[in-house]
Symmetry: C2
Subunit: 355 residues, 2 copies
Amino acid sequence: MKLFTLGPVEMYPDTLKLAGRPLPYFRTDAFSEVVLESSDLLRRFATAPAGSEVLLLTASGTAAMEAAVVNCFDENDKLLVIDGGTFGHRFAEICAYHHIPFESVVLPFGTALTADMLLPYDDAGFTGLLVNIHETSTGQLYDMDAIADFCKRNDLYLVADAIGSFLADETDMIRHGIDVLIVSSQKGLALAPGLSIVVLSERIFERKVRAIRANCMYFDFNDYAVNAKRGQTPFTPAVGVVIAMRERLAAIDEIGVDVCIRNTARMATAFRERLCRPPIKIPSYKLSNAVTPLIFEAGNAKEMYRALIERHGIYLNPNGGQLADKVLRVGHLGNLTLQDHMELADILRDVCGHD
Amino acid sequence: MKLFTLGPVEMYPDTLKLAGRPLPYFRTDAFSEVVLESSDLLRRFATAPAGSEVLLLTASGTAAMEAAVVNCFDENDKLLVIDGGTFGHRFAEICAYHHIPFESVVLPFGTALTADMLLPYDDAGFTGLLVNIHETSTGQLYDMDAIADFCKRNDLYLVADAIGSFLADETDMIRHGIDVLIVSSQKGLALAPGLSIVVLSERIFERKVRAIRANCMYFDFNDYAVNAKRGQTPFTPAVGVVIAMRERLAAIDEIGVDVCIRNTARMATAFRERLCRPPIKIPSYKLSNAVTPLIFEAGNAKEMYRALIERHGIYLNPNGGQLADKVLRVGHLGNLTLQDHMELADILRDVCGHD
């Protein structure tokens, strides 16, 4: 069995070895140290500005997205949501759920976001922008320079969901003026699901988080920030995932985060080059290094998904909703090699009957 | 190192073996089956009434407590909270946070809840009662017959946090008319933290959950219930913990849940009998089989906690807040034997210098 899915992904042997060890009690100095060390590495990998808070939530990525919105904004804000797929749309749903005023830039499947599309929203009273750096449902990697430029000239807070891009595409909170960065354990970090990370700039923490009362007590960032100072969380954390994360971050640090990203990029590029011929199409917009969406114009994506599992033990990531019949996604995250990708490309060409 | 803590607890070899295995992708029939089988076992172990919903939340126990409150009640309700320690007080905080009217029955440390204490709240317009079957911060096991009787004669919904009692003390949703039962992975189930379980009676689901819009989207029970029908969750679950839970539930089922509870009771009783002499006191109220609180009248609980770790590699569970200097708790959950408990009792008597 081999996972080219987008979480869980193929995990590294050291992660699995750690996962098989008994868990320690966590209200200890030793565990606090694990949290503090990990937070420092996360800050560095995200190029977080000085004074950033790193908060660990025991919850899925969606919870971190919701927590970010309800801790940073309220009914006095007006948010612009880049809605280019399932996860952008989820930001819109979160705003609607909490009665936070918002407008959406809706991108039909196949459409690239351009700087021009943001022009109509200049000087229109927006206070924040919500974007998935990589819209994981379509693979689109947004032009963060254009988004950062829009936010800067309009003085907006920028919330960037990096769940599908962290450690696969460059993440630079300083360069892009990102105020909230959202990460989840089961993608680029290649850990078990159940832990999410929120990095907050000092600016948004001091000006917004401190002043806003979040709608959910379990997600009250002020409470998490107080505890984070001493390497703890207000409630029982996903202890095992936190411990495995420290090991993984240290391993990445040894290789260098840039090298990790380059390796993923190399695998993604080589895979796309080897694969790409009819009847499998890939989108023309800029893709994240984390994923290659395969477009099955014949609408047989589900059949392909099942055939790959049954014949080869290979799991690609299916799509939901409108793209369920048309798109499968190949993830390039986790413990996968270039060789794995070359083999997959050959299998795909074979399964699609065109070699 | 040995954990007599209350989560994480000592895990079983089979749980650790599973934890060390690669995780599968979860949007599959195979994973749905794991969820559906586990849900059936959980229903049975909780003596849940027919038609009960079993929802799996990727979050800590506090999140499940908050989710239960915000999905079942709103500002038109009036709740009675049994506030006999940290976790009862947490229910009160959750009600206050969400502006849900409530009153508390506050029990100072050492006070047992009696049926008489509930009499002043008869016919007083309450619509629900929130209780921790076992108030884990003090070890008190509440008289659920008295509470059930109060709820029945006043026609209240009963929310019972069984986080500290499930699989250690009898759990009977039917007998006690429990509408919401809350369980967490890292206590009696002896799994990694990060997964919580909510069992809902059909009555509360149809009459309350369907009608109420929860304050948090991530915790919307209606969404979870729709997904649970097909053995799935709306968002990425803690896949590894779910898989380990199925193994653990099956292992418990083989022994028999009654036998499991009796074994825990036997260890707790033997430990208390062997231990109990000055200067270590234990409370006089009825205790859960899950825990024995040790009262250090001299206020040296923290010293004892450190001494046990440094000299013996043994972790007891410290208390927070007002009881931090006075109380340590010995957990009887997870992979511990009678022999472990006898040794701990001897060590405690030795460390306390009274043998």
